[in-house]
């Protein structure tokens, strides 16, 4: 099962490598990983999407909690949550294709953020599933380059992950 684990950790050099190292050392899977400082510059927020059964996810959260740099963490997928990922994608857009790309982009509420006579560069946010669907709709032969940010997530409602 796919999980989104959100981690608050000390914004220290080496902290990220400890988290990433833990996943490779213990054979856990990383689907995507995002990390950046929070409003408190001493803290970083890391979001990792991973796949595993309950046993694996339990160990992942316990082992992450054992890392001295990890302050707090939550498995967002245990409750209601929002999930967003951003994609920047270069698409062949010439001739008749050009209008079709624009239409598809509108349907998915993407924005064309750069244009050349043969290419549209599109920015789109949403769940990972939505981004996958957009790439499928465009079609592999038209896609020139894909950059995905990895998943960021936050709990719905009043639950807050903070120190």
């Amino acid at each position: 099962m796919r999980r989104i684990i959100s981690v608050l950790m000390e914004n220290e050099p080496g902290a990220l490598s400890r988290v990433v190292g833990l996943f490779s050392q213990r054979g856990y899977n990383i689907e995507s990983l995002t990390v950046a400082p929070t409003e408190d510059s001493t803290l970083s927020r890391l979001t990792v999407t991973t796949i595993g059964d309950d046993i694996v996810i339990e160990q992942i959260t316990k082992q992450l909690n054992k890392l001295i740099d990890v302050v707090k963490l939550v498995d967002l997928t245990e409750g209601e949550h929002l999930e967003r990922e951003l994609i920047l994608i270069k698409i062949k857009a010439s001739g008749a294709q050009r209008a079709e790309v624009k239409r598809t982009c509108d349907i998915f509420r993407g924005q064309i953020v750069d244009v050349t006579p043969a290419i549209y560069t599109v920015q789109l946010t949403g769940t990972s599933d939505k981004l996958d669907a957009f790439i499928d709709a465009i079609g592999a032969s038209a896609v020139l380059e894909v950059v995905r940010s990895g998943v960021s997530g936050i709990a719905r409602g009043e639950r807050v992950l903070s120190v």
Binding site: M9, Q59, N65, I68, D69, V70, V71
Partner: protein, 578 residues
């Protein structure tokens, strides 16, 4: 405020932390620290002959005292040589602070001479690590390093210090913090009262209980509390390899070590138990055998300081209880004394009858577990060692068959007397660990139980023993082969001894011992074993190397059948190997 250099700060921090002794090896990157060491007298330095031994010696010191062991090594090869020692300590949760030098900050990342990314190298085998980035932070880094090493589930902490951080010309104000507060690290100090109550309720319902106690009891200084609750309940106790000594080995309630080479009665009792009380043990693969077949009828209470150890391999834990074993067990005894409930005595005595039946039939001490073939049997060596030392020696083991015999046949009545590399299984651990133990306990007999394979992995330390007058006794069970490897080759590879023998090229250990200034004794005849062992231990101020030629064909039994359940065991070899 007092101005100190980084090197002086490190030495001062050690003094404030109460460190009397460190083990190390100098080199370019730590020369400033060594110069600061030279100019103080609070901390004694032991110069080993190899950095691996520096860490094992600090480790032995820590295991036998409960204090934090400290090593000091230089950058590059000094640091990488320390890695095996650090991994050994990590696997057994031993509190260590390892200070490694590094190249000056401005050279880091340039592949400078003797540069190694120590923080990167040691990442998966430390509890935590620090790279010192300013002289000012040295006091707080040292304080945190000691705090992290010894609190919660203990473990090794590396402090990597670039050379420019210790320059004698760069002095900074020194103030050592009195307390540590880390928002990201708050180990549990008490067990949850509700869970403790649940645990007791379950324990009191038991009809076939077993107390399964591990290294956490030793590390958590909870042997007294464990013994108290075991005595109060009257339940059988089994210890893991790491837990030996957590409950008195010569007590009738002790049913022996459990696991791969555990006692028959211990493994049977575990398998048949209806309630298992796991205390500071981690359901290691060398204990559980196949976890899917592990104790199918048992309801399990598990106390551990580390939440990640609970439900890691064996999933059916009914009452998880996170906390320090000492306080949790003390709380349990107190609660027990207030409750008006007793275990079912008739069920318990029937259970004891069953266990005693197993013990009589196949017990290590009661049944005849092996056939003597006119040669010195390794089991008899350990029995003799036990007799000659009255069970009071510190036994530092290496890794292999001799380790299992020493675990089976020496009865450990006290914690911290059995010193071995259980988790990592590091050959070469015994002798350097024994040095740390001997220095911590100068008046006590310290024996290294080893084999001619393991001892050669850190044999250079015989020189360190000379320099610092550490009169350890080396009990070398010489079977002229890598015994445990050979045993597996006998059992699973049709006796094809791939790279496990070297009989023609072994050194003359007696001469070797003498070359280092020690006493060497050779034993080949079973009838002279005891007298020579007595002679060995009568030389209180000498290192004695007993080279004992044992039956080379002996296997370690009992042994669990791989992929089976706890109870599935091979009890003996029908005849000699071939």
């Amino acid at each position: 405020m007092e101005l100190l250099s980084g090197g002086e700060m490190i030495m001062r921090a050690l003094k404030v932390e109460g460190v009397k002794m460190i083990f190390g090896y100098p080199g370019g990157a730590v020369l400033h620290i060594y110069d600061a060491l030279y100019q103080q007298d609070a901390v004694e330095h032991i110069l080993v002959r190899h950095e691996q031994a520096a860490v094992h010696a600090a480790d032995g010191f820590a295991r036998s005292t409960g204090e934090v062991g400290v090593s000091l090594v230089t950058s590059g090869p000094g640091a990488t040589n320390a890695i095996t020692g650090i991994a050994t300590a990590y696997m057994d949760s031993i509190p260590l602070v390892v200070i490694s030098g590094n190249v000056p900050s401005h050279l880091m990342g340039t592949d400078a001479f003797q540069e190694t990314d120590m923080i990167g190298c040691c990442r998966p085998i430390v509890k935590h690590s620090f790279l010192v980035r300013s002289i000012e932070e040295i006091p707080s880094v040292m304080k945190k390093a000691f705090h992290i090493a010894k609190s919660g589930r203990p473990g090794p902490v590396v402090v990597d210090v670039p050379k420019d951080m210790t320059a004698p010309t760069e002095k900074r104000p020194f103030e050592y913090p009195e307390t540590v507060k880390m928002r990201s690290y708050t180990p549990a100090l008490k067990g949850h009262a509700g869970q403790i109550r649940k645990a007791l309720d379950l324990l009191l319902e038991a009809r076939r209980p077993v107390i399964y106690a591990g290294g956490g009891v030793v590390l958590g200084d909870a042997a007294e509390e464990l013994t108290a609750i075991a005595k109060r309940l009257g339940y059988p106790v089994t210890n893991t390899l790491m837990g030996l000594g957590a409950f008195p080995g010569s007590d009738d309630q002790f049913i022996g070590m459990l696991g791969m080479h555990g006692f028959y009665e211990a493994n049977q009792a575990m398998h048949q138990a209806d309630v298992i009380f796991a205390v500071g043990a981690r359901f290691d693969d060398r204990v559980t055998n196949n976890p899917k077949k592990f104790c199918p009828n048992a309801r399990i209470v598990h106390i551990d300081i580390d939440p990640a150890s609970i439900q890691k391999t064996v999933r059916h834990i009914e009452v998880p209880l996170v906390g320090p074993v000492k306080s949790v067990l003390a709380d349990m005894v107190e609660m027990l004394n207030q409750m008006d409930v007793e275990p079912d005595q008739s069920a318990l005595s029937a259970w004891w009858e069953t266990i005693n039946g197993w013990r009589e039939k196949h017990g290590l001490w009661t049944g005849d577990r092996f056939t003597r073939r006119g040669k010195i049997m390794p089991q008899d060596v350990i029995r003799t060692l036990y007799e000659v030392t009255n069970g009071e020696a510190f036994i530092c083991s290496d890794v292999g068959q001799h380790q299992m015999f020493a675990a089976q046949y020496y009865k450990y009545d006290q914690p911290r007397r059995w010193i071995n590399s259980g988790g990592l299984g590091t050959m070469g651990f015994g002798l350097p660990a024994a040095m740390g133990v001997q220095l911590a306990h100068p008046e006590s007999p310290v024996a290294v139980v080893t084999g001619e394979g393991s001892i050669q992995m850190c044999i250079e330390e015989l020189s360190t023993c000379t320099q610092y007058n550490m009169p350890v006794k080396i009990i070398n069970l010489n079977n002229a082969a890598l015994g445990m490897v050979k045993q597996w080759q006998d059992m699973q590879y049709g006796g094809r001894y791939a790279a496990s023998t070297y009989a023609d090229s072994l050194p003359d250990f007696v001469k070797l011992a003498e070359a280092y200034g020690h006493v060497g004794i050779i034993v080949t005849d079973p009838s002279e074993l005891k007298a020579k062992m007595e002679q060995c231990f009568s030389m209180k101020d000498r290192v004695v190397f007993m080279d004992i030629y044992i039956d080379p064909d002996e296997h370690v039994y009992p042994m669990q059948i791989p992929t089976g359940s706890m109870k599935d065991m091979i009890l003996s070899k029908t005849g000699p190997t071939k």
